[in-house]
Amino acid sequence: MTSSKHHEFWGIAGRNVLRFPGHALTIFIPLFIAMGLASVMTFIKDGMYHDALKSITMLPDITIQQMDSGRIGHINASLSKQISSYENVQNVSPRIWGHVPVATAKGIVTYTMMGIDPGNITFGNKLNLKIENGRFLNPADRHCAVVGKIFAQQNNVKIGTKIFLKDTLGNESEFSIIGTFACPASIFNADLILTDLQGAAEFFGYNNSEYSDLGVHLKDPAQAALVSGMILADNKNIRALTKSQLSEMIRQAYASKSGIFQLMWLIILLTIFLLCWAQTSSIGLRMKQEIGLLKAVGWQTLDIIELKMFEVLIIGLAGLLTGILFGIIYLYLGAPLLKDYFLGWAAMYPQFPVPIYIEWSSLFLLFVVGVFPLSVATIFPAWLMGTIEPDSAIRSL
């Protein structure tokens, strides 16, 4: 009974792989390790990138900041009125925010405190978060705080708890917890303390006419670039960041400019290159003999190349898939031992679950990097040897 010859080649390729287990393992093991590490890195990088993108959904359409000698300074409250007068501006909400480094038994962890004006923000629409317990801030609240659910769990904070925040810079104040929230960005669930404007101003030492920045909400967010251009044209020493600009900054930080990931990718590519070199140099005589024999018994050169491609695909895909599977399991276990290295700045941020995101494009990239060079390193010599006459190949033994 005849079937597809390609189907038959898969079976023979599988047996060929098992015929030389040592050779198969010398490719499989480094590939598994390289792909495991690459997938862990890639999924975390993608996770952090998407987490950062989610955090942008909580931001206003335009963020206005004062620049003093190229650094971010305090912005004057009077600018708020001026910007409110622009066409298409729905409201301008001032914010006072900063980082709060707190000494803990595990070292210094840094929280983000943000003071907002609850009367001047369209909660639910503009802040992409959901109150899980208690309530959100009211305009009348003073020294009240709403915290993320991970913050609440880690610090054992409940509704009504009073927390005394004292940072390593000398700022201190007491806040009453009135609610806990959940938001799509896991970093905010762990590090964000939302409080009233006055509470934040007192904590960070702002005077009444100054804010950290101004959040501009537009009636038509698609006009953000236009409005931002108008604001910049009318004012010196300020910068206006639209959501799309922030997205681009995040994309650059996590994609092409993410140095540590690039470095690790280089190491992985080098590993794959060395594997390919080892594969090409180790298959010489054995492959030449087999190709000569197969051609002598009636196999076409293309049949042989297909067989050799299937052999390397079996090993390559096994290394790739088990590596990726290992990466996924490892990440769902919380990336023990390596989590801090992967997150890099975990010593500053409070502990939070490793964000994981698996993109098809990343899986495709892993496939291309893991299997394609190996296939070329096998198929090219196989093709070269396939052009030799069977007699020469057999006699070369």
Binding site: M1, H7, E8, L293, G298, I394
Partner: protein, 221 residues
């Protein structure tokens, strides 16, 4: 069945040309058993390899079933090897690590013949050659004589018209040699054309030889 005109084969070794075949002619009719004799290194294997489409001549023509094969593209030569010619190598040339049955069935795989069918056909031939009980042994665990019979089974798997055997009993013991000679004789009686190179008198005496040719200075006499 096989016609060779003015066949030449020159090997280049460094800067030196070595002429192995120089204007060789040969005619073999269907069903004949032809012996090529000569000492080692005289060019017997080269001649068989050219007829078996394993290498190309430097000059001259080779016809098989009235088709000029010496200048055919590799694709068609491969089809010929697959359909018309069964080759038994002097060194067996089996694939190490494969079982006997896998070695015998391997030429059928590119035809899309399934594993169970390949196995059935290979087992039939191994049984015919007295190796049914060794079918699932890796070939590297078989004796020289057994490996030679596996190589013969592989050569027969595509039911070729022509069987080319290069020194088929030079690497096996006397008892196995008798078996191989019996098999070759049976194949010839079934109508297969045999082209055998040897310098062994036993083979020449025992086979139903139609014609025997001696190599002399790159030609057959």
């Amino acid at each position: 069945m096989i016609r060779i005109n003015s066949l030449k084969k020159i090997f280049r070794q460094g800067a030196k040309d070595i002429t192995v075949l120089s204007g060789l002619d040969l005619n073999v009719k269907r069903g004949e058993c032809v012996i090529i004799r000569g000492p080692s290194g005289c060019g017997k294997t080269t001649l068989l390899n050219i007829i078996g489409c394993l290498t190309r001549p430097t000059d001259g023509e080779v016809f098989i079933a009235d088709k000029r094969i010496s200048h055919l593209p590799e694709h068609f030569r491969c089809q010929l090897r697959r359909s018309k010619i069964g080759f038994v190598f002097q060194q067996f040339n089996l694939i190490a690590g494969y079982t006997a049955v896998d070695n015998v069935g391997i030429p059928l795989a590119p035809l899309g013949i399934g594993e169970s069918d390949r196995r059935r056909r290979a087992l039939f031939l191994l049984d015919f050659l007295g190796l049914a009980d060794r079918a699932d042994f890796p070939v590297n665990e078989l004796s020289g004589g057994e490996q030679q019979r596996v190589a013969m089974a592989r050569a027969l798997i595509n039911a070729p018209d022509i069987i080319i055997a290069d020194e088929p009993i030079s690497n096996i013991d006397a008892q196995t040699s008798e078996k191989v000679i019996d098999i070759l004789t049976r194949l010839n009686r079934e109508g297969k054309t045999l082209l055998i190179s040897t310098h062994d008198r036993l083979l020449i005496e025992r086979l139903p030889v139609t014609s025997s040719h001696e190599f002399n200075a790159g030609r057959l006499v």
